[in-house]
Symmetry: C2
Subunit: 189 residues, 2 copies
């Protein structure tokens, strides 16, 4: 994001350029300050219903309180009560939101004003994998998404922005790359 | 899930065993009926705010309408307005909810009554990757989670259930395995 050559008092895409540059300078000078720790605790509520809670996150070792609840369920045809989005829909929302943040912050750093941006994501799951009734992958092996972008920049600049988000979006990375998942099972009496 | 030997009129963990067995038999007999297509459209709302919408999903080629909105934002320290969970928190909620569904449905199929179940997930992100200011991975390379389970089964049975969820949870697969992400960029005039 070092390309910004605009006055730092300016705001683009809803971001103060000064705040963006200060964040970049801060984490560059002090790598420990760049560590953001996220935590979610999810409680089973019967059937397919789950309530996931955020109570804090950590930045540079400091806990910062925040309170959010994310509810999920399954459609009726998949044994749920259809009271909330399902886990795959939450996953797509997580992917899209992370990439959107990447487009608009990188655009801001490059002096590009985004007028409109949406991402539509779809994928197909063969539920025989989850049900363990056929030798098929447990999940989707590919996910497709369409980015619709309107911004005051050339197609070449927007293509470069697109490549940049592909290379640097955390949640895109979490899906595209294999992540080590470290479980611990605590059996309660 | 073929291990169920219980009367199918029974309900365990909020699932009718008859419905669970019918689903298993249906998708086993007709693989086309096992394809569930999910779709999420996410709209940028300024700054870090994103509104993701579910309007339908597809099962066996049939569109089934459902309407949900999933909001996200970033904490203030990460340039957001802290009005909703962030994309990494949505991702953890997606992972946890999918695995919880795996534990309780597989437990039901095995005749195990789950009394209590929660999953706590955490991971640390070096945001210099997303900001492209250091040569570090864009995302977390490992994610830790703790499953707390209380159920009427032996530790060995619950350990087997745990292994089964690790092998067959779709969203666990989506993180643990590399998924092919297929983008399309549409520049709007």
């Amino acid at each position: 994001m070092s390309q910004a050559t605009l006055a730092t008092s300016q705001s683009i895409n809803g971001f103060e350029l000064r705040a963006l540059q200060e964040l970049v300078e801060h984490v560059s000078a002090d790598p420990d300050s760049a560590i953001a720790g996220f935590r979610v605790t999810s409680q089973w509520n019967g059937g397919a219903r789950v309530e996931s809670k955020v109570t804090e996150y950590e930045l540079a070792g400091q806990k910062i309180g925040r309170r959010y609840v994310i509810r999920s369920d399954e459609p009726r045809e998949l044994l749920g009560e259809d009271t909330a989005p399902n886990p795959q829909e939450l996953l797509f929302a997580a992917l899209n939101a992370c990439m959107i943040f990447g487009y608009v912050t990188n655009a801001a750093a490059l002096g590009i004003t985004v007028e409109r941006l949406s991402i539509e994501t779809h994928g197909s799951l063969d539920i025989r994998g989850a049900l363990a009734v056929a030798d098929v992958p447990a999940g989707m092996t590919e996910i497709h998404y369409t980015v619709r972008l309107r911004a005051n920049a050339s197609p070449e600049q927007l293509e470069a922005l697109h490549q940049r988000v592909m290379a640097h979006s955390p949640n895109r990375f979490h899906l595209a790359q294999p992540i080590r998942l470290v479980p611990r099972l605590l059996i309660e009496g």
